[in-house]
Subunit: 260 residues, 2 copies
Amino acid sequence: MFTVDQNEKLILVTNDDGIHTGGLRALEEVASAFGKVVVVAPKEGQSGMAHAITVKTPIRVNKLSETANSIHYSTNGTPVDCVKMAMNRLLPRKPDLLLAGINHGGNASSSVIYSGTMAATIEACLYGIPSIGLSLLNFSKEADFSVAKQITHQIIKETIAKGIPKGVCLNVNIPALPKNVIKGIKICRQNHGVWREEFEHRTDPSGYDYYWLTGTFEDMEPQSNETDEWALRNNYVSIVPVQFDLTAYKFMDELKKWDL
Amino acid sequence: MFTVDQNEKLILVTNDDGIHTGGLRALEEVASAFGKVVVVAPKEGQSGMAHAITVKTPIRVNKLSETANSIHYSTNGTPVDCVKMAMNRLLPRKPDLLLAGINHGGNASSSVIYSGTMAATIEACLYGIPSIGLSLLNFSKEADFSVAKQITHQIIKETIAKGIPKGVCLNVNIPALPKNVIKGIKICRQNHGVWREEFEHRTDPSGYDYYWLTGTFEDMEPQSNETDEWALRNNYVSIVPVQFDLTAYKFMDELKKWDL
């Protein structure tokens, strides 16, 4: 039966690609070196669900396994639902660390807004838990996480040693490259970039139109060497410290002059 | 047939409560005083969908009506999908303004993270469109939007007159109070607050467990008079200027000292 002592770390692991993915297994393996692990993850892929919460349908939880060192739960909810459910119903106590990922595919620049992985990370951060979201720049189901695991280990070790202030979490993106090609880890700011969408038009067998969302990313400041996009393009691992106050402070004084 | 001249304003209207709601109708009525209106909204309620995008199922679009001054489309997508679809497939040109709402229920403080209304607003802002998300602090389907309409008119008028810098949009929350009780409009920062969730446990007729997400909001800084929560509690309309760079700049120097 799963137990966790007060002197042991309790680590919550989740993702948005679903519980049966290589990225989640890789992250769990790394996490287990630092403490007891509870996995609460969507039963299926929830990519692009961002910070969505489930309010119109009930949440179901399945306990898939339990050992002395780990428990696995899947839910029909979003990544944020998984964090909320873990915090409120499933964990024996407040966790010492939240790890989300390792995502199959990057979450740099404005992708942080659409990412379920980073939403789960931010949600745990709102609860005051040190939180790290991790992504590998390889969308393949069969992606190789061996290098990403080493880097993840290093980042978790430093996070535990140094600590993250409340209200801040980390967005880690790892290039899908051999270890000796990766130049190091770079602390970055979020790149200013946008997804240029196109909707691919098709017609169903009954003659009705439908559309698939597709898109390509555009870096709006390719010349800057301070951004996560630049770091990744230049074979660095990027870490962006993330917070969730969206206030545009610089525009407040101007706005106060409006005739309202 | 719908047409829009270059000297006329083209206004995109959406929401997250669904196309058949009083708040959307109220917003469209106000918008029509400023230009031609295209409504692209979810066919059903999408509350809590945040910045979710639909990648696993195709998007369908229905044109519900078209006059010389307005067109109405519904989609099976999220609020962000609606904005993307409008920008890429449905609008005759880039709109001059995006209005989202009027939401049935508030979106102040950290609720901005879960809100489909504010996600649509931020999405349009990413496209470089002046964008305003509006919410009335009344969840009722039969909410009275008459006062909210007057305030919305005033804010749109000033937005068009003064302009918003690219990368900034507005989060407007309106107390559900008579006009003479509302003290005015206050420019605020996003309150630091959290939702304290509880999952209500039930058992289905087959004996299986399920949970409904419920919660209460907690203001983490009730003493501050600079926040949207304070303004609303004190009978002001709140406007928070919003941007989408999540970088925690203040923590960057510290993070650069880590042994990574």
